[in-house]
Amino acid sequence: MSALPAYATTGQRIWYYSFRVICGLIFFFLIAPIVVIIPLSFNAENFFTFTPEMLSLDPAGFSTKHYQDFFTSSDWQLALRNSLKIAPVATFLSVSLGTLAAIGLSQSHVPFRRAIMAILISPMIVPLIISATGMYFFYSNPYIPTPFGRIDLPFTLTGTYWGVVLAHAALGIPFVIITVTATLVGFDQSLTRAAANMGANPVTTFFRVQMPLILPGVVSGGLFAFITSFDEVVVVLFVGSAGQKTLPWQMFTGLREQISPTILAVATILIAVSVVLLIVVEMLRRRSERLRGLSPA
């Protein structure tokens, strides 16, 4: 919306400013709930609201005891460790497989391209509760369907580390596919031909020519996959057991059973993490646009 012209009528002026106020209120609605968490997490009392001491900015009203609780409680530390053990491995799986497939999908002649794309994107579209239900059934008793009947596999995946990793990797794949294919749209295929022309084999071409150019897309896809796994609670609730309790799971049970202010401290830490991720993704996006010769923003 361009600035108000000098010849605007009173009605236009009123509308111009009230529109800004409305937008301001909506932005407030978007951001305030997240921001309000941060000061509340430094509450010295076990309340979920601002105490009179906090409102008068009395230092006695603030403390870091909820953070101390987070860093000393074995439950929370176990949950944090589990999250950090599951998310990177799931991310690695989805990024490595997803990047290869995205390169395959971006070639000019791919049979059944639409159908394959639809299958690969489906984990993002299918509601999590349905994925969780299906995975709970199938992972607890995996089998190979054959025309002659099913062959039951002699192991179970529910309640195991690899079961959760597998499930999370599947959920992260659509994000990798989407970001990497979007990056590959601007990729000049003649560069690979030029490399091949100069004697590079396909592997060298991939790592020395293609990979550096699509790296921003791969990394931001990886970040999406990471945050999907790190933030995921429904599937892990069904597929995992107490040994795989992740940070969101611990928060979920905390919120459902007895809500403790430690959750606010954890939430603040997670907000900080997402701010960092947001900055990284934005920088990558701009870098990718610059590399591809598109104008920034």
Binding site: M1, S2, F19, I22, C23, I26, L30, I31, P33, I34, V36, I37, L40, F47, F48, T49, F50, G98, L100, A101, G104, Q107, S108, H109, V110, P111, M117, I119, L120, P123, I125, V126, P127, I129, I130, S131, T133, G134, F137, A169, A170, I173, I178, I227, D231, V233, V234, P248, F252, I259, A267, L270, I271, S274, L277, L278, V281, E282, R285, A297
Partner: protein, 551 residues
């Protein structure tokens, strides 16, 4: 026509085709690992869920003989089946009790008729104490050869004996398999159990030729029908047998009927009594609440997208962060924020109380109450429309928004539908703003100026020129928000209380609490079909290739 040849002497056309084929193959080879991975880790689980929503092998697997003989029973007769069926049930029950599968079957059939679970558990305990040991004693007294395990094994390996005593051979085989599997004993070293002697007795009294002649004329028949009736009178209830008969096929649509508040009666689908109807209401409520969330997102997202699309790039990028930060923040963080804010003693209610205590609060109170009353009237209209729709569907659970339960001082904002709608609108708003923004970016603002210079008012220029061009963005955003919201589980579970939950919460309940997995699978399948329909629409309107993430 001259044939154009490639460098290696092949026809150019064939050579090109070969190159193309190689290219296709290479592309497929790159995609294959991921495709297999997704098929195994994601598509097969979904297929398994679809399968489970109709699968019903448990009845025929646990009670194979009963199901076979029950074919001859007329369910219209109003009588429990006769002795034959109870004999078959006796064999099946003894085996099922040993395999410990009878309780599973009991809980499966209990979903269809309450009380069957305890009936099966009771009968499992009672079936070992039946009076059929009189047969065993009588037969072994008549000829000691029948007390010799090795002799039994030898007979049962002999084809002429098997042909003369088919039922005994069948029960002996089942017994032997069971002995090997559950007790890890050798059948040739164990005397068969009472039920094998029961089948021998029944066949001999009917005139079959035993391997060693037996005179059983003095041994009275033990009615298994009476034995079962002694354990539990319910076995003589024809309705129990009707349930067994209706659920005896390997596949059933019973779970689907249950998920639309019907049940499988003798003459097909029947409507459940009104006080047991929950699912259709829940589906409609999920739809209406997702619709309200979608509407709220359009209302709040449209101005923001407009502002972002038409501001200078630097300012727009800065404001975009305010949209992207919630998008990147953990779902649990946002839900806990709302849980904290909306509480009875939470920040919003505390602010309201404080506001009422200030002088301008007192002064503006009438205004505030007026506004709240307008909101309340608006909500009442929605409630009325909802209840009319609900009345048509025959549901009993009305939508209500208890804004002002605690008076105007403290609002009940959590553990009801208000809580779910507020929190989910906040969570899904970025999914509306981002597609809207990317569409609005492509609409030249000069069209508006052109319209105005041709004499259109501000409103006409917007409504007739700008708005129609932004409709694809609204469509994309609406479908995205709707798809995401009808499958939501976490937020309704935490802030929705009992009235603000969705169909997903019911699915989760059936998986983890009531353990009625088939019903959970059927509800999931219905939800999946709805979502897939919307996905197809989204693909038609936007194209899945055009899904963008984070601006």
């Amino acid at each position: 026509m001259t044939l154009v040849l490639a460098a290696d002497g092949r026809p150019l056309k064939a050579s090109l085709n070969r190159a193309l084929r190689r290219q296709k193959l290479r592309a497929l080879m790159l995609i294959a690992p991921l495709l297999i991975f997704i098929l195994v880790s994601f598509v097969m689980p979904i297929a398994d869920m679809l399968f489970r929503s109709v699968e019903n092998e448990i009845v025929v697997e646990t009670l194979p003989r009963t199901v076979a003989t029950l074919d001859g029973w007329d369910s219209e007769s109003g009588q429990a089946p006769d002795e034959d069926v109870f004999t078959a049930l006796y064999f099946d029950m003894v085996l099922a009790t040993e395999y410990k599968t009878h309780t599973r079957l009991g809980s499966r059939l209990n979903y269809e008729m309450t009380g069957i679970s305890s009936l099966f558990r009771k009968s499992g305990r009672g079936v070992g104490r039946f009076d059929t040991d009189t047969y065993t004693d009588a037969i072994q007294a008549a000829d000691p050869a029948y007390a010799d395990p090795a002799q039994w094994a030898a007979w049962m390996a002999d084809d002429t004996v098997r042909a003369a005593l088919p039922m005994t051979a069948n029960t002996y085989d089942a017994w032997a398999a069971m002995i090997i599997e559950t007790e890890e004993d050798v059948p040739a070293e164990e005397v068969p159990w009472n039920f094998v002697f029961t089948s021998l007795y029944l066949e001999v009294t009917e005139g079959a030729e035993p391997p060693v002649a037996l005179d059983l004329s003095g041994v009275p028949l033990v009615s298994l029908r009476d034995q079962f009736a002694d354990v539990d009178e319910d076995w003589l209830d024809p309705e129990v047998w009707q349930v067994v008969k209706i659920y005896s096929p390997e596949y059933t649509n019973g779970y689907f009927l249950n998920s639309v508040d019907r049940f499988k009666g003798a003459e097909g689908a029947e409507v459940r009594p009104e006080n047991e109807q929950i699912y259709i209401t829940l589906f409609i409520r999920t739809m209406i609440m997702s619709g309200s969330i979608m509407g709220m997102c359009v209302l709040l997202g449209y101005p923001i997208a407009w502002l972002l699309a038409n501001l200078p790039a630097r300012k727009a990028n800065l404001l975009m962060i305010l949209v992207l930060l919630p998008f990147w923040t953990s779902l649990l963080v946002r839900t806990s924020a709302w849980k904290v804010l909306l509480q009875q003693q939470g920040v919003i209610n505390d602010t309201l109380v404080w506001y009422h205590s200030t002088w301008f609060g007192q002064l503006l109170d009438p205004v505030f109450m007026g506004l709240l009353n307008i909101c309340y009237a608006f909500v009442n209209v929605i409630t009325w429309v909802w209840n009319v729709i609900n009345g048509i569907w025959g549901g009993t659970d009305g939508l209500y928004m208890d804004w002002a339960v605690a008076g105007f001082e403290r609002l009940a904002l959590i553990n009801n539908q208000t809580g779910t709608i507020i929190a989910m609108t906040h969570i899904l708003l970025p999914f509306m703003i981002l597609p809207l923004f990317s569409v609005m970016k492509t609409i030249p603002i000069s069209y508006l100026r052109a319209a105005k210079s041709l004499g259109a008012t501000n409103w006409t220029a917007f409504w007739r020129v700008y708005f129609p061009q932004s409709v694809p963005g609204i469509g994309a955003g609406c479908i995205l928000v709707f798809i995401l919201s009808i499958g939501y589980y976490i937020t309704p579970e935490l802030v929705g209380g009992t009235k603000g939950v969705f169909i997903s919460n019911r699915i989760a309940y059936h998986i983890s609490s009531s353990l009625n997995w088939g019903l959970a699978a059927a509800l999931g399948t219905i939800l999946l079909v709805i979502v897939m329909g919307l996905y197809w629409m989204y693909d038609k309107i936007v194209g899945i290739d055009n899904v963008k993430l984070g601006g």
